[in-house]
């Protein structure tokens, strides 16, 4: 219970950080830009030195069906979080899709290994997280922040990650929650899986940008807003060319 209260307090502080009036010289809601750029440079070097080579080795060594299996299991483990957020956003239709996806893939899909829900039942796939839920509830993103290793993570999304951890049933599963290999293993594997699936995309972005930091900031926000709108275009928000 105390843990829950602490988590709620942390979320509240972060959300209030999003409301504070901070000077913003660039007009891009990035008042901590010089700090962010330094962290970004560090992350970029870390990626080149360690993370990207590990992801490339993973792709070279592990055959595609096995990598797909790993990805499917990781996605399946996160579905309860998606389900909780579907309901918190009042979206019963997508909540129902998530429920059946989890039930089918966990059972027929052998613990999530096979994505039977898509291939045999054609259930549309989506993910939700508490950061998106906070946005749907009207919370602003807050000033842009880049965290070491994690990357872009503005206050609303930090609050979202805390909320998701609180809502994640595996956090409370008695047999595994204290197991080091579970939390670290799941986290590291998720990171490698994500990096491996974005090798070409991030290379392309780097090739095409003049200012990689600014491009990533722009793309991160556009991608988040797209996720929050569930992929639907907001024509009123399009630029005036």
């Amino acid at each position: 219970m105390r843990g829950l209260l602490r988590a709620a307090g942390a979320v509240a502080v972060l959300l209030l950080a999003g409301c504070a009036e901070v000077p913003d010289p660039s007009g891009a809601n990035d008042p901590y830009e010089s700090f962010n750029r330094q962290v970004f440079d560090f992350n970029h070097k870390l990626d080149k030195a360690v993370i990207k080579p590990v992801a490339e080795a993973y792709v070279d060594v592990v055959p595609a069906p096995a990598r797909d299996g790993v990805h499917n299991v990781l996605v399946n483990l996160n579905l309860p979080i998606t389900f909780a957020n579907d309901l918190l956003q009042g979206d019963l239709e997508r909540g129902s899709e998530t429920f059946w996806r989890f039930a089918i893939n966990s059972s027929l899909g052998l613990g999530g290994l096979f994505d039977v829900a898509t291939t045999n039942f054609h259930i549309p796939f989506h993910t939700e997280d508490f950061g998106q839920t906070l946005a749907v509830w009207g919370v602003q993103e807050g000033p842009y922040l880049v965290l070491p290793v994690v990357g872009p993570d503005p206050p609303r999304d930090i609050g979202g990650q805390i909320g998701d951890t609180v809502m994640d049933p595996w956090t409370y599963w008695p047999h595994i929650r204290d197991k080091f290999w579970w939390s670290v293993g799941r986290g590291v594997l998720s990171g490698i899986d994500l990096r491996a699936r974005n090798l070409d995309t991030l290379d392309q972005i780097e090739r095409q940008s003049i200012d990689l930091y600014a491009s990533i900031r722009s793309l991160y926000r556009q991608n988040r807003n797209n996720e929050i709108r569930n992929g639907k275009p907001d024509v009123s928000d399009l630029p005036n060319l």
Partner: protein, 215 residues
């Protein structure tokens, strides 16, 4: 803002359930002419990319000329310049448009050379204002793994039947014009708003792609 939209959407869904006329639940009118424009030109573009008798050079040349007729490059270029556009002289603006054109063709042209048989299927359109349409398509990828969600590619189209041009493209929710403007604005902020520095940088990059074949 988002909350009001949610309420509006839920109201619209309820109205449809009650059997109210379809036009209330779908206020944005589709534009068959804009959709036909995109569909026809997608086919023209694919014909060039898939033409086995063209050399790599010819293919790039033809595709480039095709894109010039299809898009309003000047409008896109000046948008990406952002607030700096107002301070730039007409000569600077012209130089920038030219540099942007060469940069875009070099950088994006190199990406197109990796083309591997994908297509685009028009799925509908949404009107933002008269003469301002968003035509929605889906990427049809023969190499996509089973179960992969199809990528949405939206074309922002200005004009009217017979006089359309593409002014922006949105891939998986990522708007090209916005991304380029954010990139260039950051460069200008780091270089004292010097438009000539940006022009020089774009020229350098275009030249590097041309001479090395790598971006």
């Amino acid at each position: 803002m988002l909350k009001m939209k949610r309420v509006a959407r839920q109201f619209a869904a309820a109205a449809a359930i009650c059997g109210v006329a379809a036009w209330i639940s779908n206020p944005a009118t589709a534009s068959p002419a804009a959709e036909a424009f995109v569909q026809t030109n997608v086919q023209r573009g694919l014909a060039i990319l898939n033409n086995p008798s063209l050399s790599k050079q010819q293919r790039q040349e033809q595709f480039r000329n095709f894109l010039v007729t299809l898009t309003d490059l000047r409008r896109i270029a000046l948008y990406t310049l952002g607030p700096a556009r107002r301070a730039a002289s007409p000569a600077q603006q012209d130089a920038f448009v030219e540099a942007f054109r060469n940069y875009a063709f070099a950088v994006y042209g190199a990406e197109f050379s990796k083309y591997g048989g994908q297509g685009l299927r028009v799925t509908g359109s949404v009107e933002r204002a008269p003469g301002d349409e968003l035509v929605r398509t889906q990427l049809v990828d023969p190499h996509a793994r089973p179960g992969q969600e199809p990528i949405g590619v939206d074309f922002r189209v200005y004009g009217s039947a017979g006089h359309y041009s593409v002014v922006d493209i949105v891939v998986a929710g990522l708007d090209l014009a916005i991304t380029e403007q954010d990139d260039f604005s950051a460069f200008l902020a780091q270089h004292n708003n010097d438009v000539n520095a940006l022009i020089a940088n774009l020229r350098q990059r275009a030249e590097r792609v041309r001479s090395t074949g790598q971006i």
